[in-house]
């Protein structure tokens, strides 16, 4: 937990400490797991990978566990259904529950009653919608906080969804490795596009945020050149963007890469996705209440 000296309280730029450090780390894990679970389900449903959808379901359950670990009173979590009208956390909780419920039924039908194609397709579409909702709401929960200027950007939900999709596609690649060659090539083509989009969105987000307020500019400075620079450049840039893009471009020229190469890319993307959530949450800073010279 980050300690604040009493005489420094809100008279300097103050890092948010409630959603990072100690129990707060679990919210970063929950956001990460929600993103890749949603991304994986959408990708697995498109490529019709039952194992992929099952792993997405497992990851969503893990997200729920991580959420519970974040709460001081997890046994009261049923109350989190109460305010979907105004609270993104409440909306997210409902999205997660609906996604898990719909996917459970769909997986049971797909495994044991595969001839019920109409029901399976309907459930896949519905679960896909909630997979997307589960993935994007984490971004909205963060971007809704107008008090933290670096978060208060419309790009954050897009960034989180793209990152989740990139991680989800990477996991699907690992799952389908050694399977249908044509599907693997198609998957790699999609990953290439998503990775490039992810890199562009991060760039636009940082550039755009710099101009939104002095607090946001301070936060971006910390991310790219301050105390968070190692996390950003090594975690987000190197693992999340550079290594996967290099691998992806390599496979473009040499065809489907070796399993070692692909595993490296997959692990790298997952580390990058986790680092992104931590970097964004850690970068959250409040504007001082007294003037700063």
């Amino acid at each position: 937990m980050i300690q604040i000296k009493p005489y420094d309280f809100m008279v300097k730029y103050q890092q948010q400490k409630d959603w990072i450090g100690g129990r707060g780390n679990f919210i970063a894990f929950a956001f990460f797991l929600g993103g890749i679970s949603g991304g994986l389900y959408m990708a697995a449903a498109y490529f019709d990978s039952l194992l992929g959808m099952f792993v997405a379901w497992l990851l969503s359950l893990l997200m729920g566990v991580s959420y519970m670990a974040h709460l001081s009173h997890p046994f009261r979590s049923w109350r989190m259904f109460m305010k979907p009208g105004t609270s993104w956390i409440a909306r997210g909780f409902i999205f997660i529950m609906l996604f898990i419920g719909l996917t459970t039924i769909q997986l049971i039908l797909s495994q044991w009653v595969p001839e019920a194609t109409a029901a399976i397709t309907t459930l896949k579409v519905l679960a896909g919608i909630f997979a997307f909702a589960q993935s994007i709401y984490t971004g909205f929960a963060v971007s809704y906080v107008s008090a933290i200027k670096v978060w208060n950007s419309a790009i954050v939900p897009i960034l989180f969804v793209t990152c989740g999709l990139s991680g989800g596609l990477a996991i699907l690649l690992a799952i389908t490795m050694g399977g249908d060659h044509a599907q693997l090539v198609a998957l790699e083509n999609v990953i290439r596009v998503v990775l490039i989009a992810f890199a562009i969105i991060i760039g636009v987000y940082l550039w755009n945020t710099t101009y939104s307020s002095t607090a946001a500019k301070e936060a971006v400075k910390r991310l790219v050149g301050g105390s968070l620079a190692p996390l950003f450049w090594i975690g987000v840039f190197l693992f999340g963007i550079a290594i996967p893009i290099v691998m992806s471009v390599t496979t473009y020229f040499v065809g489907v890469g070796s399993s070692g190469l692909l595993i490296t890319a997959v692990v790298s993307e997952i580390i990058g996705g986790l680092a992104l959530r931590f970097a964004i949450l850690k970068a959250g800073m409040y504007t001082p209440l007294l003037p700063v010279d």
Binding site: P6, V11, Q14, S72, S77, R79, M80, I89, S146
Partner: protein
Amino acid sequence: MRWGMAIELKRCIGCYECVLACKAEHFLPPDIFWNRVLIGESGKYPTVTKLIYNVRCNQCADPACVKVCPTGATQQREDGIVWVDEDKCVGCRYCMIACPYQMRSMYEDGNSQYFPGQELTEHEKVGKELYPHQPGVVQKCVFCKERIDSGIAAGLTPGVDREATPACVISCPTKAIHFGDLDDPNSEINRVIKEKHGHPFHPEFGTDPSIYYID
């Protein structure tokens, strides 16, 4: 009716009496502050100004904390006071994140005490009986709503009668803090705000605070 405060900055001497009065009134545990005194400086030598701001929950008319609370634990009364129902709070901390003034605290360690390793003080023992704080939930200033409610029930007027007025207001040795009904055009607080050009703290946050500051 909307309860509010007006704080005259030129009268505040930064003595922390309001902070201590709040701590004593609500038997607040160590490291929990419902109000604070921010001290800073602006300008450069030789024209430096010392800034002393006594801050607490602004009881905003449009509070971000109420909107983001997923359980409805953070609520707003008809008189504008924002409070937390401890039995409904799950401890997700979204309200703490959303408050631009950072005027909320999480009471984490239910066994914390002012003199660790020693026996609880008499004040702490009494506090655990009279004003038990639930661990793992969010706390904040509630404008001493218990004093206001019991005062009104006894026919007293908050802001006028000591027994019905928040502890920080009545403890201020320089009478820098005024309390009253912002919706009553004839209240003393409205007169002070109007005559001395009171303004909310950081109105750009867009939450419509009920506390005004007078330079």
